[in-house]
């Protein structure tokens, strides 16, 4: 699509959408939102980028390898962290616990913040992958 208005508006709007998505992910344990909501917002911004600037521009930044690597790393991190919390909590072992921090800060709530970040990465790239699969049949 070669529309000058669309491209210039996209340059202004897309960073704000992504910053809002990151805000929703990072404040998931303090305010409404969380990994899934913020991930869908970031995925929508990636879809908008691809829709405006074409598939060649985004292939330089996000290709099949990067999507698969980051989703696998995020899934592994989610499994390890949540499994660790299940083992220490369920079996009543006195292992190392993540410090809880002061309530109300960003760094509080123990494992909720890293789990939210992992879920956000997975959901955002999954929505982008859905759009790519529907559009071209490949990632």
């Amino acid at each position: 699509m070669n529309d000058i208005i669309l491209k210039e508006i996209g340059k202004i709007v897309i960073p704000y959408i992504q910053i809002f998505g990151i805000y929703v992910i990072f404040n998931g344990h303090l305010s409404p939102g969380g990994g899934f909501s913020g991930g869908t917002v970031i995925g929508a911004s990636l879809v908008l980028y691809k829709l405006i600037y074409g598939p060649e521009m985004i292939k330089k930044i996000i290709n099949y390898k990067i999507v698969m690597h980051s989703m696998s790393i995020a899934l592994l991190a989610y499994g390890i962290l949540k499994g660790y919390s299940f083992i220490t909590g369920g079996a009543d072992l006195h292992l190392f616990q993540i410090p809880l921090g002061t309530p109300g800060n960003i760094l509080s709530g123990g494992l909720l913040l890293p789990l939210n970040i992992a879920v956000g990465i997975i959901v955002g790239f999954t929505i982008f992958a859905f759009y790519s699969l529907f559009d071209e049949g490949e990632l």
């Binding site: 929703v24 409404p32 939102g33 909501s37 869908t40 995925g43 879809v47 829709l51 759009y131």
Partner: protein, 79 residues
């Protein structure tokens, strides 16, 4: 706020009936998007802001885009 919710619910019922009786598929998808948008406002009224964010992003954005792409793929749009 009571009257506002009732008006929004009436819009919701009207949209959901219009989706099923519209013959043009593209118009049906656009009405479905407005249904999703009204649903996001209703989630906000029902004190569920996180669901409102998700509904506005998924229902009004991603689902509509995927429906339009599928319609383009099966050539359902009349020129």
């Amino acid at each position: 706020m009571e009257i506002f919710s009732i008006i929004m619910l009436l819009f919701l019922v009207g949209c959901s009936i219009a989706v099923s009786i519209t013959k043009n598929l593209l118009a049906s998808i656009i009405i479905f998007m407005s249904y999703s948008l009204i649903m996001a406002i209703l989630w906000e009224i029902l004190n569920a802001p996180d669901l409102a964010i998700t509904e506005a992003a998924v229902g009004a954005g991603i689902t509509t885009l995927l429906f339009v792409l599928t319609l383009k793929r099966v050539r359902g749009v009349k020129k």
